[in-house]
Point group: none
DNA sequence: TATGAATGAGTGTTCATTCAT
DNA sequence: GATGAATGAACACTCATTCAT
């Protein structure tokens, strides 16, 4: 199988699996058309929210006929969920790679925290989250599925990362799971609820995020950092001063 | 009778006189009927979300006629906001009084954090927040208004509390505003998003909340507590040990 | 019976007759309240038309309760018709007295034509006529009744007047009935349809009406005037010239 | 193919191609369905008036679904206006051609006056006018638009015709505009208001119209005819007598 | 008798979904 | 397989009328 883009491959596979899983007729197999539909749907759903988006809008935006959409997706909800699935993939993909490099701990946490905070509070992602949350009541498990495949995965990566740091003797943490949540929520301190409730109408600035994340990392390391982390950081500081 | 604004007083008096005169409350003034409507609306809105809830559903659930609802509330939105207002009132009323007592700092933070966390993650409040978030796309400002009258006020109370503790020399904080957000989000670490996305289907247990809050308070005080706080806590500990 | 104002007397009589005719219960007998209702109804119906006027509007405008209106009038339509009845009376009352004076013929026709044309094209009367016409389909005979008691009566007076002029040898007319219609319609030439279709949004000016009426009277007398009329007019002219 | 506006041409072409390609007319383009809707609408609007007619009634009467009506017409008003437009087209089309032949003046006026009077007082046209008048209050300009495209155009044609007759030396008229109105209203003398108020429940007979029109034309020509018209008519009379 | 709160059928319009072409 | 015209249930909201007080 020739590797093109991982995304496209993924899609094709999922499509096939899907059609097997659901026993759908041979129709609705063209991944190009599927993408076309999802792209149109994205523009409309993000722009208007789930309820206000009309299938006609999507039809127009996607440039395919009403009937065709219903060949690929059983109904509006299924289309929406498919879109969310894709969306998440395209946004958070690769974000966690930052955690794989075994750089300086504080640096890594700050870098990662900034990216995380920026992505989660970006207008687009907030919109999508709002829509998912709003639709959660109507479509059981949609929210749960979203959380599982999104925030949950990120959390797991963070747990792994923290465990590695513990191994390296840099951190000492009783409840690593909790610590991972604390880290994430410190990076978003105040922001998430402000954004999700539309109290903030635009995404926080780079500077604001940097300020919050640095403060959060300070707090986090003051709480969980070991003596050897402090030692290491002291050395780095000295080295840095020597350079300048 | 404490004079507030003359208008409000006047209105109240006229209403009362009216209802006495006629033995029937004025249109849109009967608190029993109002409650009846809001109760029906609560069940429907919470169950289906703002958009999917129909006024007919509410009519049926509340056991009043369509027309009557429109006597009490100008439209669907106003009914929804009234419901939310009531909800918030009935849930968060008095919660912040915990911050007024100048008790032992750590104790206070833990107590308050536990109540806060418990309330915000209670099934009912989560449901209401989901509905507000979902409605935010279509009704700009509804979410913002919700945030302002709810989370924002709580945040302000927390800022005041922290400033008092700083005054007392127990805390040293650069950015009090940020610290308040950090405190709240540490108390909810991991919980809020899990609940709001329905990944958790039931509210966290007392024990879990206690664990999270204690951990958060530890972290918070490790970061912002002064030497005199430590001193004070050491004395308490000794006193406590002596007792036992 | 003490003569107060002819209008009030009329009303009282009609009310009594009404209640006898319809066998209504003793309720709804107070002519003051009846007038109050009709006055409110007038403002609302004239302002909004039959369908758009709401009984609530009328309630508010009349300053009586909903129930009271329904004591005096069986329903919206009956109220409307009662209003129209009154309206016509108050507007056209006395207008035809102009025809009773045996003045100079041309003068009389011009004077009468001007008043007629002005009244019929006045905003108020046009509104009322529009409403009657619009309601005619829904309320059988309303239009006919309106025509009979309004335009028809005026027409009859005009026929009488023309016959008198014929008697005096001033006119020679084959079909007096037709001539009366011709006179009226010449006085309104072009105006009635323009007004009733709201092509003209405001009533024609005094000057315009004068121009139209004079032209119509000229035509009318050229067609139906006798030699002796011409003679008479010649004398008048001479007399007039002599004076100046 | 005569190029009018490129856009209009384009649209027309695309529509045609579309319907050929698919063997089905484009949305809102099927003239059969359009007629079906308008026919249903005609029955309902004429029967109940604009306000009282409900889209549900029309749906039922037309035998199409609610949605389909809204594909063909944006809203109730637009449907109503389309109906009126059609109505006018089908009734008054070609009527004014009578004025294009330069026949004997009196004959032409009589012929035209008869047709005009007959059409305007026909049950169908009266009904339509009643509906428009009734709707005028709520929908400003609807009546005006009706007047402009109907009576106003007819009036303009009459003005042109009279000017031609003046040119030919047959008439002498100071105010041609007024004269045109006078002619029309003489042809309808008494009829229009009787019909529009439903005092007359059926259209006037041929004979009655003939009588009224002849009388009106007599009057009109007595007022505006020149000596040369009289001369011409005398010659015709002699010629006619000679023949018999 | 007079009141006005309550009623609920009715309004014009939208839109997810179907199915003949 | 793809299309998009047609569908009709559903929507938020109004208002003539009733009837308990």
């Amino acid at each position: 199988m020739a590797e093109t883009t991982p995304d496209a491959e993924n899609d094709k596979c999922e499509d096939l699996l899907d059609s097997l899983r659901r026993g759908r007729p041979a129709a609705g197999q063209d991944p190009v058309k599927r993408s076309q539909i999802i792209d149109g749907a994205r523009r409309v759903f993000i722009d208007k929210g789930f309820e206000a988006a009309s299938m006609n809008d999507i039809t127009r935006e996607a440039g395919v006929s009403k009937g065709t959409i219903y060949v690929y997706f059983a109904n509006k909800e299924e289309l929406f969920e498919a879109l969310i699935e894709e969306e998440r993939g395209s946004i958070f993909k690769n974000m966690y790679d930052l955690l794989d490099r075994s750089d300086d701990l504080r640096q890594t946490l700050v870098k990662f925290g900034k990216v995380l905070s920026m992505k989660i509070t970006s207008a687009r992602v907030i919109q999508a989250q709002r829509t998912v949350i709003g639709a959660s009541d109507r479509i059981p498990d949609m929210g749960a599925r979203f959380y599982e495949r999104g925030p949950k995965r990120g959390h797991d990566r963070m747990v792994t990362f923290l465990n590695a740091a513990i191994e390296r003797g840099l951190l000492r943490i009783d409840d690593v799971d909790l610590a991972a949540y604390q880290f994430t929520d410190l990076c978003l301190a105040g922001l998430f609820r402000q954004c999700i409730f539309a109290y903030r109408v635009k995404a926080p600035s780079q500077e604001e995020i940097e300020h919050i994340v640095r403060s959060g990392v300070d707090m986090f390391l003051k709480a969980y950092g070991t003596a050897s982390l402090a030692e290491e950081e002291r050395h780095q500081m000295i080295a840095l001063e020597a350079k300048s």
